[in-house]
Amino acid sequence: MKSTMTILMVLVTQLGLASNLMASTATREDGSMFLVWMFLGMCALIVIIQLMPAMFLLFGLLKSLFTGNKSPVKVNASNKE
């Protein structure tokens, strides 16, 4: 009984120490990289927003290239109803 109690005490103490270790690790990894990623995200946002007009222009050019240039339909005098 005494030995079981001793083992339990050691286990509880070890768990206590381990939880401390985990808590300290979590605190260290928490905020440091988050702000860096947020900053890099804002940089990426600037690049994307600035490239948007050029992308729209490119998309429009490609669209007109693949759909073909549709010239306005001429109405013949003979076709008039």
Partner: protein
Amino acid sequence: MSPKTRIYLQPTPVRIWHWLNALGIITLCVTAVQIRFPEHVHMFANYKTAILLHNAAGLVVTFSFTLWFIYYALVSRNMFKVYVPSKDDLQYGILRQAKFYLLTYFLGWANPHHPTPENKFNPMQKSAYLAIMFLLVPLVSLTGLLLTNVSPMRDLVLLIGGLKILIAIHFLLACSLCAFLFTHVYLATLGKTPMAYIKPMWTGWEEEGAEEHPHKAS
């Protein structure tokens, strides 16, 4: 009423460089305060966060500077014309522009400089940007890169005079850059409206007459 004429003044690579630079330099200044005075300033969770953010912003500014250099030197190939003041600029232009900023602006006169894609900057801007882009930014980036990782360039650090001298040089150069930032923002608001010069830097297009005085009698 005549239609408003617009000129395409700021191409996309220049706009990307400018806003990355703006965000980067502001982040560098804010984080630098905590790095320099850690016992008094606690803006970020800890010292390590400030260092990491400072390093990331420094790398972004260095990268955007490279983008700016490649664009002007290899793509548009007008770096010399845009950034180097001419003989006329040095003889008369700087004085004319200084007179405008110090006196005639307050009397309601129009800006003597009219920007074009080939001549974007007034003589004072040219002189200031020449020093900033070809001296200040490269030196502050180089000293910053040396401070980020000292061991690979240990000999160069020792040649400069050691870590303390390197930190002092980096700090003084950064202070000059920070001082320029306030002047830059103030002068950017002196157009026809406070946003008249800031909007083209975001959209690329400047409306003709943006340099007119805000209180000009119509």
